[in-house]
C-alpha cells in the first residue's frame, strides 16, 4: 500500500531513521541476551534439591583447641542434638545441598579407566541422614549404624558402601540400574558397592560449572574426622524458632571449644537457599532493570522522533488529508513508517543478539541463546514500536485538512 512512498520519504530522513533503527537493534540484542540470562537464573532458582526443606536447620561448626580426633566429640554433639525434644533427627556431614562448598570427584566403572564417566559430589553421612533430609530412597537400603566409620579426610575417600542419586545411576549405567553394582570414586582403585538409590539430591553448588552434574550425588557412610563439621537438623513441626535458639546453647553446653559463626553459623534452610541464590536473584533483578530501562529509552526515542516528525510534517499531513487521505490513512502511514524502521532495527538486532551471545558463549561459558528468545524479542520490539508510535500517530490523524491552506 503506502510502503514505497514511505521508504522513499525515509531515504530523505536517513539520520533519524538509522539512529532509531540502531537503537531498536541494540535494545533487541541486549534484551534478548538479558532475558535469556534471567530465564537461566530463574530456572536455577526454581530447581528443587530433592529434600523436604521445611523444618531443616543447618549448623556450621568448627572445633577449636587441642585434639587428635574429633569424631567422639561429633558423636556427643549429635546425641545432645537428637535428645532435644524439638528435634526429629540430625546428622553430621561435610556438606549439604546449596551450601556452596563441598567435595566433587570423578566416577569410574573400572578401576583402571583413564577417563571418568561423570562427576559427582561426595556427601559423608550416617544412617540418620536420609530421614533428616527427607530424601526418598527408591531402591535398596539405607546405611546401618555399623557401617558408619570415622574417616580421616587425608586418607582415601573410597568406602565399601555407597548410596547414589537416580540421576547419577542413569549417567553411569545405560539402563539406569545401579543397585548392587560397583563404582570407583577415587583413583586408588577401591570399589564402592551401590547399596541404595535415592530419587534426587542436589549438589552443594548452584553455579554454571556444576550445571552438568547438579543432581549427581554419592553418599558415603562416614563421619569425617575433621574440626569442620556441619550439622543438619530436622526439627519437629512448629519447633524451628525454638530450636534455632536451643541448638547453639545445647552445643555450647556440651563443649565451649567451638566456634559457631554468629550470622552464618545457624540457619534455616530457607536462609541457606536465599543465600545460595543471592547472586542469581540479584543478576535476574539487575538484568530485568536493564531490560526495562532499555525498553523505556527505546520507546521514549520512538515517541520523541515520531512526535518531532508529526510536528514537522503538519502541513504535509494537511495536504494529504486535503488530497483525500482519511484519518485512518494518516494513522496507518505513521504506524507503517514506524513498523518499517523497527523491522530494519530488529533484523539487524537479531544478528547482533546472536553475535553477542556467541561472544558471551566463548568468553563467559554462557549457554547458546535459544532462537525463541530472538523471535519473542522481535515481536516484543515491533509491538513496543507500534505502541510507542500510537499516540503521535493519533495526533497526526487529528490534523485538520485545512492545515494545507495555512501559510504559517
Amino acid at each position: 500500500m503506502q510502503i514505497k512512498p514511505i521508504l522513499a520519504a525515509l531515504r530523505r530522513h536517513k539520520s533519524g531513521t538509522i539512529l532509531i533503527a540502531l537503537q531498536i537493534a541494540l535494545t533487541l540484542a541486549i534484551v534478548c541476551n538479558a532475558l535469556f540470562i534471567i530465564e537461566q537464573r530463574v530456572s536455577r532458582l526454581s530447581r528443587t534439591t530433592g529434600m523436604d526443606e521445611t523444618n531443616v536447620i543447618a549448623i556450621a561448626n568448627r572445633y577449636v583447641g587441642p585434639g587428635t580426633s574429633f569424631t567422639p566429640t561429633v558423636k556427643t554433639d549429635l546425641a545432645a542434638i537428637r535428645n532435644l525434644a524439638g528435634v526429629e533427627d540430625a546428622y553430621a556431614t561435610n556438606s549439604y545441598p546449596l551450601r556452596n562448598g563441598g567435595w566433587s570427584m570423578g566416577v569410574r566403572l573400572k578401576p583402571d579407566a583413564k577417563k571418568e564417566i561423570t562427576s559427582t559430589t561426595l556427601y559423608f553421612i550416617d544412617d540418620h541422614a536420609l530421614k533428616t533430609l527427607g530424601v526418598k530412597l527408591i531402591e535398596g537400603r539405607n546405611f546401618n549404624a555399623g557401617e558408619v566409620i570415622s574417616l580421616d579426610p587425608r586418607n582415601s575417600t573410597s568406602l565399601p558402601q555407597v548410596i547414589i542419586t537416580k540421576a547419577l545411576a542413569q549417567k553411569l549405567f545405560e539402563d539406569g540400574k545401579a543397585l548392587g553394582k560397583t563404582i570407583y570414586l577415587s583413583q586408588e582403585g577401591k570399589p564402592s558397592t551401590v547399596i541404595g538409590v535415592v530419587e534426587k539430591l542436589q549438589v552443594p553448588w548452584v553455579g554454571t560449572w556444576a550445571g552438568k552434574f547438579d543432581q549427581n550425588a554419592a553418599m558415603l557412610p562416614a563421619i569425617l574426622d575433621s574440626n569442620y563439621q556441619n550439622f543438619v537438623v530436622r526439627t519437629r513441626p512448629g519447633q524451628q524458632e525454638a530450636m534455632l535458639k536451643a541448638l547453639p546453647k545445647t552445643l555450647y553446653a556440651t563443649s565451649r571449644m567451638r566456634v559457631i559463626p554468629e550470622e552464618t553459623g545457624i540457619r534455616t534452610f530457607e536462609q541457606v537457599r536465599a543465600r545460595a541464590y543471592e547472586t542469581d536473584r540479584g543478576m535476574a533483578i539487575l538484568m530485568g532493570i536493564v531490560c526495562a530501562v532499555l525498553l523505556a529509552i527505546t520507546a521514549a526515542g520512538i515517541v520523541g522522533l515520531s512526535s518531532f516528525w508529526v510536528g514537522q510534517r503538519r502541513k504535509q499531513i494537511g495536504v494529504r488529508r486535503a488530497l483525500g487521505a482519511t484519518k485512518n490513512d494518516i494513522l496507518s502511514y505513521f504506524m507503517t513508517e514506524n513498523f518499517l524502521i523497527a523491522l530494519g532495527g530488529v533484523i539487524v538486532g537479531s544478528l547482533l543478539a546472536v553475535g553477542m551471545n556467541q561472544w558471551l558463549f566463548t568468553r563467559f561459558e554462557m549457554e547458546r541463546l535459544s532462537l525463541t528468545y530472538v523471535a519473542v524479542g522481535v515481536v516484543a520490539l515491533l509491538a513496543l514500536g507500534q505502541a510507542a508510535v500510537l499516540a503521535p500517530a493519533l495526533r497526526a490523524s487529528r490534523v485538520s485538512p485545512v492545515e494545507a491552506t495555512r501559510t504559517v
Binding site: A8, H13, Q316, R321, L323, T405, T407
Partner: protein
Amino acid sequence: MLKMTHLAKVYRTEVVETYALRDFNINVKEGEFVAVTGPSGSGKTTFLTIAGLLETFTGGEYHLDGVEVSKLDDNARSRIRNEKIGFIFQAFNLIPDLNVFDNVEVPLRYRGMKSAERKQRIMDALERVGLASRAKHYPAELSGGQQQRVAIARALAGSPRLLLADEPTGNLDTQMARSVLELLEEIHREGATIVMVTHDPELAARAQRNVHVIDGQVVDLAEDPRFHANAHLVGANS
C-alpha cells in the same frame, strides 16, 4: 456543481464571535470558470476551504454535485475530496520528501487505484503540464512555476469534477504566472469546473465570471456602496 445557500462560518471564542462568512450565497454551474475576488480578510480562503470540504461550516446549506455535504462524516468528506475535487494551492504544497511522480501519485493511492492505472494517469497528467521528463526530480529541484505545474498535474490526475485554486499564481513571477493561467484556461476549455480565489484583478478578468466577497458575503459590485467609496478614494489618490 457547487451551491451554497445562506452559508455561515463563525469562529467562536469565550468572549467573541467572528463571522468569517455570513449569509453567503453562490452557485457555480458545471463547466464554469469562476474567479472569487475580494480584499484580504474578506473570507475568500474560508469560502474555498469550505467549498473544498477542508473545513466545516456553522450554518446554511452547501450542495456539491447534488450532495448536501453537512451531513457527511469525515471519511465521506475525504472520499469526495479525493474523487471529485482537485486542489491547487498558492504555496504548491508538494510533499518535499517525494519526487514528482510520487507527489502526483498521492491522491491516486488514497483512491486505491491499481498500480498500472496510476502510472498511466500520472504520466498523462505530467505530459499535459509538460513535466514528464522531470518525474524523478524532487520539488526542491524545480522552479516555482514547475512546482505549480506539478501541483496542477496532481490535481488533474484524479480527473476531478471541480478544481479549486487558491491564489495559484501568488508565488510566481509574471511569466510563470501567465503560463500557469494559460494551463488553467486550457483545462477549463476541456470541460473542467474551476473556482479560483485571487485578489489579482488581471487574473480574475481571465475567468468567465467574477464573484466578489467583502466581509464574508458575496456582493454585487455595482450596488455596493463600499466599492464606490473605495473607488472614489482610489480615484482621488490617483
